[in-house]
Structure formats: structure tokens, C-alpha cells
């Protein structure tokens, strides 16, 4: 291949210099990217390789379905809650278990809390450093920083003294040579555009967001009994409501509910007054990033939907984040999504290191097979242990290629917000239009790296305000004497049919997550998981369609291929998490991302 056009409309040219980024830093798990750049350093071909192998399904076979959530939440440190909620929904679907209203509300509240926390951590601690130059913050003028902070927000921590102290602390830290979370940065890179004062303000909020976590996790502790690793239960939520109780472990009492109410108010304040103003301030310096990184987002997006406002109703009448698929950029038609329809979601392995009876055909997750088959293509450069350039014409990733009706799809906050926007949901349309207006960019700016990062911020704010909504619903139920939190009618395996199968879903912060189970004689017979990063980071399929990461990198100009900051910006905007999509084959001790230009 030199130049080809993919069925999904992208022109790939792999004749230019090859740049390898391995591993991509500040993500969970292990991802390798290779791109070809032309003589102007514009990306003309992109190859996304998940360099690990996964096989969680094998661990679950033969186990009690009611325990599956506890195993799946161990896959990854970032996604504990989302695998747990998806797993209990999967088993409930298989066994036909309806959960009480309170359980639905509490799950929504815990899930919205996770959104707020996860999006905050992603923006400040994983993504912001792609836009904020920490070293530049050292030369900021504290007084000017204070004026800037007060101009964009009423957040009280904004005095010159506050920023001066922080700068001193940062200076000491950097001078100690222990860069810690700030290592692996391309400090001083010409693509950093913020003035030193904006950098200092953002670093201050980086630390505030880090500190704020200690409050927000208390909500998970109240409802899940502990943190990390809160408890879940098939049929509802594990903690009983006992409003008059005092101090009983695990019980939800008035004192704890008041604490939750206060933390919700603090969360809303932090996101409204810190995250959103920072996002807008940073975005205003990077409007050119509305031109790049769109990839599949203007064409194919997929959302399973989440936050059912009516217990056990998983249709769009109930889902506050709607379900749907947009194919071919037709925003007028939002297609229905059915996780159990064998013709809709299929995984392909023609370019993945797995073996199917027929590698050209896709398999629905109910019939999924995970049989490793590692082999490098004939055009690979280098050796098995030191690959210089991978052969994307052959198998080249440990990720499978999931497709919706044969189409590669983007999932995640941007996909959800595009679906919501297309469906005319006012609570989604209104904030999107307001931000577009504020930044003075057209609606097409959404389909970009900047749009993806902005959608995450708006969704974080949306989730924080929904926390309040669910909290109020819970308090109203309790006042009406409705205290039920679990349905145990089908808890005993003796009540189950000999065979059952079900599918469960959730919108993880980073995108659509699905679990599929088959139960036989009260044990797990098969369990398949398709995670968001498998959709976004997928390799090519038999038809040659490229996945969301690969599509998003195309046509991006790079200032310096030796320092691929632009690649990190776009890939981080997806919030990739490969811990569950892949599994380490050969752990290595390298700390810095290796970048090789050939």
C-alpha cells in the first residue's frame, strides 16, 4: 500500500516517515501508535496497536454470576464502578430481576459521582498537561495570575498570595528533581500557547482537583460501604436505608445523607466555578484544535445511553443520556441500538491477534471467542522483541475490532453529546450552543479534539447537577416511607432457570461498555466484555475501515515529530483506558515514552 481510500472515506498514505510512540503515557494500560508523516510533518497514516492480551472471560467461567461484578471491577483501577454496575445489570437482565426505585436512584447517584470525579481527574491530571506548560508556570506573575483568575471566575482561591505560595511550592518541587506527575512532559514545546499566568492558574487547579477527590469519594463510601472498591449487589444496592440509625456500618442514615448533600453542592461549585471556566479559558487559546482530531465523530457515533430515570426502563423515555447510533453523518436519523441483536454489534479479528473459525466474519459477543494468535505480518520491520514498524496490512493489535452494522464507531462523551444533540435533548443542546457561541466557533467545531475535550467538560457539569436531581429524588422517597433498596426474590440460584442469557450496558465516562453473559446450571458459562477503548482504539476490519483513534490522527500537522505532543492531545481527548481491553504480555521498565522517527 502507498495510498488507499478506506470504505469509511479516509485517505491513507504510508509512504512518508514513520513515527512510533510507545507507550503512550498518562493512560491506563499499554498503547502503541505509529504514524506516517509527509514532508510537511502532516500525519497521513495512523496505526493503533493495543500491545497486550486480554482474557478475563476465562477467569469468570464456572463462577457464581452474583460475584461477577467483584471480579470485573478488579480489571482496572480507573473503571471499578462501571464494570460493577454493568455486570449487575447483565445478570439482572439474564434472570429478569427488577430493581427497586431507590436502588436505581442510588446507582445513578453513584454513577453520576463517578462521572464528576473521573472527568475531573481526566481533565486536570491526564489531559491538561497536553495544553498547560508546567515549567512556564514558574515564570508567571502572581498578581497578574490573580487578575486573570478573578476575571474568569468568582472562585475564592484567587489572591496573589495564594498563587505566589503555590508557585514557590511548585518551584521547590521541580528543583528537587522529582518531577513526579509532571515527568514525561514536552515542556517548552512550541505547540504550548498559554501565557505563564494561565499556566499557573491551571496548575493551581490541578492541585485543587487532586485534593477535592478526598471529599467526592465519600459519596461512594456512604452508598457502597467502602472506598476504594465499593460494594454492589445483583437486585439492588447493598446498603440499607435506616434514617434514624447512628453509625451502623453500611447503613444510610440522615447524618450521612446530609454529608452527601453537602459534597454534591461542593462538587457543583467546583465544576461550575473552576473546571468550566478553565476549560473555556484554555480552549480560547487553542481554537485551531477545532480543525483537527475529529476522525469518526462527524460520521459514526454510538451510545448505549445511561442514567435511567425510571427504574428498569432502559428506553430513551427513561435514559437521561440517550441511546442511539448515528451512521454516515446523518444527524436526522438516530438509529436504535440493541445489544442482543446478533446483526448489530460484532467483533472482528482480521487485524487482531486472535483466531476465529473464519477471520473475515464478525461474531456477536454472545458467541465471542478469545483465542490468542500472535503473528507479525510480512512487512514488519525489526524483530518480534524490537518492532521498528508494525505491518498494518496483517494482524497488528491485541484489540479486536468491534463494529455496529459493519461500521467503525466513536464512543465517549462526544459521541453521547452528538446523539443527545441530534435527538434535540435541551439539557444537552443548550450548553453546547452556549459554549460554541462563547468561543465563537461553528457547530462543526464539535467534531474535533477540542470538541471532544469540551464535551467531556460539559458532561461533567451535567453529571454534577444530576447528582443533585437523584439526591432530591432519594430524599423524597425516604420522606414518603419508601426505604426498599434491594429485590432479593431471585437471589437464590434455585429460583433460576437452567439456562439464561443477558446483556448489560453502561456509559462509562470514556464510552459505551457492554457485558454479555450466559448462565448454565447456576454458573457462568460464558462472559464477554466489549469496552469503550476497544471501539475507539480498534484496528482495521476485513473491509478496511479504520477505527476512531486512527481516523482522528489523520491530517494533523506536527510541529516536531520527535516530540509528538499533537498525537497525545488527540489520543488523550478520548480518555483511553486499555487496562481492560488488553493484558500485559511483556511488562517493561521504561519510564519515558519512546519516540522513534524513521
Amino acid at each position: 500500500m502507498t495510498v488507499v481510500t478506506t470504505p469509511n472515506g479516509f485517505k491513507l498514505d504510508n509512504s512518508g516517515r514513520r513515527v512510533v510512540v510507545d507507550p503512550v503515557t498518562r493512560i491506563e494500560g499499554h498503547l502503541r501508535l505509529e504514524v506516517n508523516v509527509d514532508d510537511k510533518n502532516v500525519i497521513r497514516n495512523a496505526v493503533s496497536t493495543g500491545t497486550m492480551f486480554r482474557g478475563l472471560e476465562i477467569i469468570l467461567r464456572g463462577r457464581d454470576p452474583r460475584d461477577a461484578w467483584a471480579f470485573t471491577q478488579r480489571i482496572c483501577g480507573v473503571c471499578t464502578g462501571v464494570h460493577a454496575i454493568t455486570s449487575v445489570r447483565t445478570v439482572e437482565d439474564a434472570l429478569g430481576i427488577a430493581i427497586p426505585d431507590n436502588a436505581n436512584i442510588i446507582r445513578n447517584l453513584m454513577h453520576a459521582t463517578l462521572y464528576a470525579q473521573d472527568h475531573l481527574v481526566h481533565f486536570y491530571h491526564l489531559h491538561a498537561l497536553d495544553w498547560v506548560d508546567v515549567v512556564s508556570a514558574l515564570s508567571a506573575d502572581a498578581k497578574k495570575t490573580s487578575r486573570l483568575a478573578q476575571a474568569v471566575s468568582s472562585w475564592p482561591l484567587s489572591s496573589p498570595g495564594y498563587f505566589r505560595d503555590l508557585q514557590t511550592r511548585l518551584k521547590k518541587f521541580v528543583e528537587s528533581g522529582q518531577l513526579g506527575p509532571f515527568k514525561n512532559g514536552y515542556w517548552g514545546h512550541p505547540a504550548y500557547k498559554l501565557p505563564p499566568e494561565a499556566n499557573l492558574m491551571a496548575v493551581a487547579h490541578y492541585l485543587e482537583a487532586l485534593d477535592f477527590q478526598k471529599d467526592i469519594v465519600k459519596i461512594q463510601t456512604v452508598f457502597g460501604g467502602k472506598n476504594p472498591h465499593p460494594d454492589w449487589i445483583v437486585g439492588g444496592v447493598p446498603s440499607a436505608i435506616n434514617v434514624d440509625g447512628s453509625g451502623a456500618v453500611g447503613a444510610i442514615n440522615m447524618e450521612r445523607l446530609n454529608l452527601v448533600g453537602k459534597i454534591i453542592d461542593d462538587t457543583i461549585a467546583f465544576i461550575d466555578q473552576v473546571y468550566i471556566p478553565d476549560l473555556l479559558a484554555v480552549a480560547s487559546f487553542y481554537k485551531d484544535w477545532a480543525n483537527w482530531g475529529g476522525g469518526l465523530s462527524s460520521m459514526n457515533v454510538l451510545a448505549y445511553g445511561d442514567f435511567p430515570d425510571i427504574a428498569n426502563d432502559y428506553t430513551n423515555k427513561s435514559l437521561l443520556l440517550p441511546r442511539g447510533a448515528i451512521v454516515g453523518g446523518n444527524l436526522k436519523e438516530v438509529q436504535e441500538v440493541d445489544l442482543k441483536d446478533p446483526g448489530q454489534i460484532q467483533e472482528f479479528v482480521s487485524h487482531s491477534w486472535y483466531h476465529y473459525p473464519d477471520d473475515q466474519k464478525g461474531l456477536h459477543p454472545f458467541n465471542g471467542i478469545t483465542e490468542p494468535n500472535f503473528a507479525l505480518g510480512p512487512n514488519t520491520k525489526g524483530t518480534k522483541t524490537d518492532i521498528k514498524a508494525i505491518d498494518e496490512g496483517a494482524k497488528y493489535s491485541w484489540l479486536k475490532a468491534p463494529r455496529f452494522k459493519g461500521q467503525a464507531m466513536e464512543v465517549g462523551p462526544l459521541a453521547r453529546w452528538v446523539v443527545g444533540y441530534a435527538l434535540g435533548r435541551e439539557d444537552i443542546k443548550e450548553p453546547v450552543d452556549a459554549v460554541l457561541k462563547k468561543l465563537n466557533v461553528p457547530v462543526t467545531a464539535l467534531f474535533s479534539t477540542l470538541g471532544r475535550t469540551a464535551a467531556r467538560g460539559l458532561e461533567c457539569q451535567w453529571a454534577a447537577h444530576r447528582m443533585k436531581h437523584f439526591y432530591n429524588k432519594l430524599i423524597a422517597n425516604i420522606k414518603n416511607g419508601n426505604l426498599s433498596t434491594a429485590n432479593v426474590a431471585k437471589w437464590e440460584p434455585s429460583t433460576w432457570p437452567n439456562e439464561a442469557k443477558g446483556a448489560g450496558f453502561c456509559e462509562a465516562p470514556r464510552g459505551a461498555l457492554g457485558h454479555w453473559i450466559k448462565i448454565k446450571d447456576t454458573k457462568i458459562d460464558s462472559y464477554q466484555i466489549v469496552v469503550p477503548t476497544t471501539w475507539n482504539g480498534s484496528p482495521r476490519d476485513p473491509a478496511g475501515n479504520i477505527g476512531a483513534f486512527e481516523a482522528a490522527l489523520l491530517d494533523t500537522p506536527m510541529a516536531d515529530p520527535e516530540k509528538p505532543l499533537e498525537i497525545l492531545r488527540t489520543i488523550h481527548s478520548f480518555d483511553p483506558c486499555l487496562a481492560c481491553s488488553t493484558h500485559v504480555i511483556s511488562p517493561d521498565g521504561r519510564e519515558m515514552a519512546a519516540v522513534k522517527v524513521r
Partner: protein
Amino acid sequence: MCCAPRSRRVLVLGIGNILWADEGFGVRAVEEFHRRFACPENVTVMDGGTQGLYLVPHVAAADALVVFDAVDYGLDPGSLMLVHDDEVPKFAGIRKMSLHQTGFQEVLSAAQLLGSGPKSLLLIGCQPLDLEDWGGPLTPPVRAQIEPTLAAACAALRQWGIAPAPRAAPLAVGEGLLGHSTDHDAYERRPAATGI
């Protein structure tokens, strides 16, 4: 470092992934510590899993920290190594402490950046034999180090003025840190281990 007031907040933390054979060492060690010893109220015993940055608030709140983890020191499998105080981040800097991109070093330095974090630190690291047996148990040489690990942790805690009290009988399943068949024994009994 010794003879500090008892009110100091102490965190006994195990980190790692129980699904990846010896990568689960830290979590299994803290699980066993909790099963066997009762600690005073100022001591938190925590299964940290692979929570990365989410552990920062817990670490930042601690004055003293004992952490169990599988660490690749390049030694013989099952070798136990104790690293103290300032040496911990330095040591963690040599190799990744966890397979995750956010190593424990980042967690410590983030806590430090917040102007807090433990003043006294002990890392009890065990050299893994096998990190690639997906769903596999701890290997024998690593498992054999749990007992010496508990002894080392107790010795350090006593130096800090804390006396972990051996329980009359180890906690039963369901009272431990890990539940729902992810506790060590139930995990080991999984059909995949014996049948396949």
C-alpha cells in the same frame, strides 16, 4: 521516627492486581494482615487495588505508611526487600512499581505536592515470578513471603508506637477486606485453577 504519638494516622496499604498472579502480592498481603491482626483506630488497613491517582487522598491523609507491592527489583523471585522513607520514591523510580502507567511514585509525589503525605514510609516489596498468568494465583515463592511480610510490617508499626494485636482467630470469609469470592481462598478454588 520512633516513639511518635499514637494519634498519628497510619495507613497499611496493599496495591496490585489480584487478576495477574504475583501482581496481586500487595493486595493478598494486606488481606492476610487484616485477617490476622487488629489495629488501633488511628490505623487504616486498605486494599488499594490498582487505583493509582485515586489513592492520593488516602496517602495524603497518612502520617506514616506501610505499603505492600510486587516490585521488579531484578532479584530472584520471592526476594523480599524493605525500603524506607526517602528511598521509597527513589527506588520506585528505578522500575515501575505497578504495571499501570500511574506508578506509586506518582501517587507519593502528588501527595507531596499537596503539601502533605507520610513522613515515615516503609515499602515491603516482593520480587514476582510470574505476572503473566492471567487469572492465576500467587506463585509459591511469592506466597511464601506473605508471612515474613506481616512480621516486617508489625515490626515497623511497633517502632512507630503501634501494637497490632493478633486476633484470637483469623477473620472468617465475609469479614475480610475482599469479598464476593475474590478473597484469597475462594479465588484459588476457582474451577479454572483445578479443572483446566
